[in-house]
């Protein structure tokens, strides 16, 4: 049986280690995220409005895409039990309904003394274009006992 409770400690993560996950973003995802966050942004919700902008059609809420990055960290690297301390994000390109987004997170620094790990992050679409970049600092779980 695969145990998802396999989060790494600051001692166990290695610089250069990477993890990723992919998801095709549906209209339902975009609409539920807008509803959850109280957004009425017509770029997310109004096809007529969005088609009158240079974007041409509705886009997906940016923070839905960016939230896949801490999800990747919590699922895989450093994994279960890590806590998100700090985040920087740049949104470089719009994401459209139906796009398949692949995250990539890479350990680029660790501070054993303060139990902190620095992670470089990116999201790409199905054409390989980078849509989001970021950098996070997380607090990996401590060793059991």
């Amino acid at each position: 049986m695969i145990n998802i409770l396999n989060g790494k400690t600051v001692h166990e993560v290695e610089i250069g280690e990477k993890a990723s996950m992919s998801k095709t973003i549906t209209e339902t995802d975009a609409y539920m995220f807008a509803a959850l966050t109280g957004s009425t942004n017509p770029l997310y919700l109004d096809e007529v409005f969005a088609s009158g902008t240079p974007l041409g059609r509705r886009i997906v809420p940016e923070l839905l895409i960016a939230s896949m990055l801490p999800a990747t960290q919590g699922n895989f690297l450093p994994g279960e039990g890590n806590l998100h301390l700090k985040q920087h994000l740049d949104f470089l390109k719009p994401v459209f309904i139906g796009d398949t987004i692949t995250t990539e997170v890479e350990i680029i620094g660790k501070d054993v003394e303060r139990n902190r790990v620095t992670i470089r992050q990116a999201c790409r679409n199905q054409d390989g274009e980078v849509v989001v970049t970021g950098e996070a600092v997380v607090w990996p779980k401590k060793r059991e006992g």
Binding site: E62, G74, G81, L85, F91, P94
Partner: protein
């Protein structure tokens, strides 16, 4: 509170306050949408063994409230997020009422962007999230929507 229609109405120092009681449902729907399995958000028994003792909200979902508030009240309609910085300084628990206090700290008429300082506190007045974010605004001269309607 006033709703802004266009970029030129936005002034440095403009403020907005918006509060929401964060529910278990938001976290559960949110982690489903983003595919997050971290037990710190969804496993009460796991959390009992952590220093926080309870399940925690998701930081970027908490931050999203502030972004939505800015989009809805300050610079709508039709904004795009350009960049964001956040420090998650304390946990948000289910049932906490989080207040976002937003202040316009920068505008750029060429880029048509507005930068907000974002201070989020819980019902006890303790900060939970401190950060900034930048939104690109559509409207007036930068409003490709109305240009398109008028011209093409």
């Amino acid at each position: 509170m006033r709703a802004y229609g266009s970029f030129s109405d936005i002034k440095i120092g403009d403020r907005l306050r918006y509060a929401k009681t964060m529910t278990e449902a938001e976290t559960y729907l949110g982690v489903g949408l983003i595919g997050a399995l971290n037990p710190v958000h969804i496993d009460e028994e796991y959390c009992k063994k952590t220093r926080f003792k309870r399940r925690l909200g998701v930081g970027l979902l908490v931050n999203a409230l502030a972004v939505s508030a800015a989009e809805n009240f300050l610079v709508g309609p039709g904004t795009q997020l350009v960049s964001l910085d956040a420090k998650f300084v304390a946990p948000v628990y289910f049932g906490d009422t989080v207040t976002a206090e937003l202040e316009v700290i920068g505008t750029d008429s060429e880029e048509q962007t507005v930068t907000f300082k974002n201070t989020m506190t819980n019902q006890d007045g303790n900060p939970v999230l401190l950060g900034e974010f930048k939104l690109r605004v559509r409207g007036e001269s930068g409003d490709q929507h109305s240009q398109r309607q008028d011209g093409a």
